[in-house]
Amino acid sequence: MRFALGKWALPLYTVLAFIYLLIPIAYTFVFSFNDSFKSNISWRGFTFNNWLNVCGEPGVCDAFGTSVLIGVVSTVLATILGTMIAIALVRYEFKARSQVSLLLFLPMATPEIVLGAGLASQFFNMGVTKGLGTVIVAHVMFCLSFVVVTVKARVASLDPALEEAGSDLYATPAQVFRKVTLPLLTPGIMSAALLAFALSFDDFIITNFNAGPVDTFPKFVYTAAAKGIPAEANVIGSAVFLVAIIAVVLVQLNSARKQKRLLAGK
C-alpha cells in the first residue's frame, strides 16, 4: 500500500501543479464568454457577443493592432541582429568572447524596471519625444539576448561538416550560407522569432516607461484594471493564447517528425 502511494504521489502532484498553472488561463477564457455589463466581474450568463464584436469596446482593437505592429517590427530587427551574433559566437574565434557573452547576459539579468527607467531617462535627457519609435527601440533591446540564446543552441547542434562539404563542392561562402547554413538554422530562427514576438507582445513594464501616449494591449489592460477589465480584452487574450499554443504544438510536431525521418534514414 505504501509502495503504491509512493508510486502515484509524483504523477498526482504533477497533475495538480498543471491545474494550478492553468487556472488563470481557464478563468480568462471562461470570462471571455460572460454576458457582462460594463465591468466583467461576476458571471451573468453565456454569450458569444464579446467574440463576435471584439472591437465594440473602444480602444481595445487599436491597442491590439499597435501591439502587433510593434511586435512584428521589433521581432524582425531583433532576430536579424541576434542571429548574426549567435553565428559569430559559435563559429568564429575572437578575443573579446567573454565580454560579449557578459554584455548579452546583462540585459536578461537586469530587472525590467531598470531597463525601462534607464531608457526613459536617456530619451528624456536627449529630448526625444516618446512614441512608437521609442517603444520599438526598447523592445529590440530586451529581445536581442533571448534571440541569441535560442539561435545559439541551434547553431551549436549544426554539423560544420555540412558547410565544409558545401565549400568542397566549390560553393562560395555566400552560397554556403544561403543554401546550407540558413536553411538548417531556420527552425532555430523561427523559435527565436516566436519568442521575441511573445516577449514584445506581452511586455508592460518597459513599454509603460517609453510609450508616451501610445497605447499597447498590455497598457490598455493595466489602465482598465482599475475599474475592471472588459470582456473584449479577455477575448483578445484567449485568441492570442490559442494561436500561440497551436503554433508551438505545430513546431514541436514538425521537429518530432523530422527527427523520426532522420533516425529512419540512418
Binding site: 488563470p24 524596471i113 493564447f241 514541436q252
Partner: protein
C-alpha cells in the same frame, strides 16, 4: 538556459566541438551591429540613470526640472525614505523564489526524469509549463485577483471556516502579492530545473541505491548536487524579475499601498510625480544589488555558461 526548451529541443546533446574559424573581419561584421545597439540602448541608459540619480532641482521651482549635480546625498535620502519598500521587495522576492523552487522541483523532476520514456508526453508537459506565457501577464494576474476578490467564493468560504475574520480579506495583503509573484514566475524556475534534470544519468541513482543509500539519501547526495546548475539558474531567473516587479504589488492588481515595492515607487516617482533623481537612485540601487548577485553567480560558473 531558461528558454532552451522553447519550441524545439536544445542542441546541447550534439554540440560539435570543431576548431572555430578565425576570420576576424567576418566575426566583427557579425558582432558589431548588435553590440553597438546594446551599447547605445542598454549601457548608455544605465549611465544616464546614474547621472540623473545625482541631479538637483534646477532652482526654477517648477516640478520635474532638474540640473546636473553631484548630489550623493540623494542616495541617503532615498534609502531613508524608502527602506521599507526596499526591504519588502527583497523579502517578497526571497519568499516567492523559495516557494517557486519548492513547487517547481517535483514538477521538473517528473517531466525531466520520470517521463523520459514518453517523449511526446514530455513535449506536451513542457508546452503546458510555458502555456501561461501565452496569455497576457496582466490578464492572468487579474484573474487571480478576481478569484480572491472580497466577495469571491474563496474568501467567503475561508471566512465561514474562521480562517479569515469576517472583515479580513486577501487582496492587498503580503500573502496575495507573494502568491501572485510565485505563480507568475514558475515557468522561469521550472525550465532551467528541467534542463539540468533531463541530463541526469539515471544509472547514478541506481548506483546510489545499489550501495544501500535510501531514496532520501540518494536525492540529497546525487540528484540535488547534480541539479545545482538548474537551481542556481532558476533562482536567479525568478529572483531578479520579481525584485523589480510592480504589477503584482500595485493596487489595481493584487496589492495595496501597504505592499508597494521598489518598482511601484520608481513608477510613481518617474511617471507620475516627475521626481527623476529619486526614481533613478532607487533603480541604480536595485541594479547594484542584482549585479552583486550576478557577480557571485559568474564567479561560481564562468561566463561561457551564462548563455
Amino acid at each position: 538556459m531558461a528558454f532552451a526548451a522553447f519550441g524545439h529541443s536544445g542542441g546541447s546533446k550534439s554540440d560539435f566541438k570543431t576548431p572555430r574559424k578565425t576570420s576576424v573581419k567576418v566575426a566583427m561584421a557579425l558582432l558589431i551591429p548588435g553590440m553597438l545597439y546594446l551599447g547605445l540602448f542598454f549601457i548608455t541608459p544605465l549611465v544616464s540613470l546614474v547621472v540623473t540619480s545625482l541631479e538637483v532641482p534646477d532652482g526654477s521651482g517648477e516640478i520635474g526640472r532638474y540640473a546636473y549635480g553631484f548630489e550623493i546625498s540623494n542616495y541617503w535620502t532615498v534609502i531613508e525614505t524608502y527602506w521599507p519598500h526596499i526591504a519588502r521587495s527583497f523579502f517578497y522576492a526571497l519568499m516567492a523564489t523559495i516557494l517557486g523552487l519548492l513547487i517547481s522541483y517535483p514538477l521538473a523532476y517528473f517531466i525531466g526524469v520520470k517521463a523520459r520514456r514518453w517523449p511526446i508526453l514530455q513535449g506536451l508537459m513542457l508546452t503546458l509549463v510555458i502555456a501561461p506565457f501565452f496569455i497576457s501577464f496582466l490578464l492572468r494576474t487579474f484573474a487571480w485577483k478576481q478569484m480572491f476578490a472580497n466577495e469571491s467564493l474563496i474568501v467567503t468560504t475561508l471566512q465561514s471556516w474562521g480562517v479569515l475574520a469576517p472583515d479580513q480579506y486577501l487582496v492587498g495583503t503580503d500573502f496575495m502579492v507573494i502568491f501572485g509573484l510565485t505563480y507568475n514566475f514558475i515557468p522561469f524556475m521550472t525550465l532551467p530545473l528541467y534542463t539540468s534534470l533531463e541530463r541526469l544519468d539515471i544509472r547514478l541513482l541506481e548506483a546510489g541505491s545499489d550501495l544501500y543509500a535510501n531514496p532520501a539519501k540518494v536525492f540529497a547526495r546525487v540528484t540535488l548536487p547534480l541539479s545545482m546548475p538548474g537551481i542556481i539558474s532558476g533562482t536567479l531567473m525568478t529572483f531578479i524579475p520579481i525584485a523589480g516587479d510592480y504589477v503584482n504589488a500595485s493596487s489595481q492588481f493584487l496589492g495595496s499601498s501597504e505592499t508597494a515595492m521598489i518598482g511601484n515607487v520608481v513608477e510613481a516617482n518617474f511617471l507620475r510625480i516627475n521626481d527623476y533623481p529619486s526614481a533613478s537612485a532607487l533603480s541604480v540601487l536595485l541594479m547594484a544589488a542584482i549585479l552583486a548577485l550576478v557577480t557571485f553567480y559568474v564567479r561560481r560558473s564562468g561566463t561561457e555558461d551564462l548563455l
